[in-house]
Amino acid sequence: MIIAERKPIEEILGLLSRHQKVLVLGCGGCVTVCLAGGEKEVGILSSQLAMARSKEERPLEVVQQTVERQCDFEYLEGIRHIVKDVDAILSLACGIGIQTCAEAFPDKIVWPGVNTKFLGVNLNVGEWAERCQACGQCVLDKTGGICPVARCSKSIFNGPCGGSQDGKCEVSPDTDCAWALIHDRLTRLGEVDSLREIMPVKDWSYSRDGGPRKLVREDLELESGK
């Protein structure tokens, strides 16, 4: 899932400083699961904002709403009537939701309320870790299901590097060495010999190096083009 974290309150208050009425818009997807921008977080932040502004004697009217997914235009259609009455939207969705919102409401200011961090997994209550960088050409089949792009600090493909020590990465003692994990797992699976095969240079044009990416599946397109 996409992991996000609420922006510091001072930053949010700064963004909203010139508004009198805002919509705090949550998303029922990833940010609900990672407790950054679901219905409950919308409620808590709205309270905090209203209280902070009341304290400054510059009241802020806060409208609260959470849609199923902010990254789908159809869910945003349903709140058009609410959006028209507010000065701005503070979106608690990930960067994708925030941009979809801005695209759906081109005449409305849309502020980001969270920092989108990474694609990751929930390890423990309150603990998340990165797992994938959406490189566009997955190599998990060759690495025992452990991603060298996202989990090796150098994203190397024929690791480990010389900095791997006791299963930890030289970058931080808190970071597992991805290649140690890959080696251990393939050993457990009896497939460690597969690592003798040198992995070719990765074609990064499928990743961000090829510019913004787009996926078109003609098989899904309807005749109307929509």
Binding site: I9, K40, S47, Q48, M51, S54, K55
Partner: protein
Amino acid sequence: MSANTNFQPKIIVFACENSGWLASEHAAELALSYPEKVELIKIPCSGKIDVLFFMKALEKADGTIVMACQKENCKFIKGNIRAAQRVKQTENLLKEIGVEPERVGIHYLAANMGQKFVEIVQNFYDKIRELGPNPGKVIK
């Protein structure tokens, strides 16, 4: 004492139905009284309390507390531990916006402690009275 001696704080008390709530009934049986502007809300376990409940309470009140079962004595095992954690989280949210974290709290008691219930409420009321009105109150 606050400069405004007429200030009567509004307090919202969330009371676990297994301890705080029963203690309030016990206080009533003993004909003990506490300040008028204290609103009691029954919750099924102190663990049901949520940061959002506290924040909503503080939009209209000057202080809010949760009354939980004694430590190690929660019917749902960890309810009072969770409640204490949510008090801490709320304290942080208040600090972030410059509102005194003392406006939220947790107190532990048993069902037969009517006297203690009144003491807790009165002490908190007095403390908030001293602190003055909640500067972040939205519904005035």
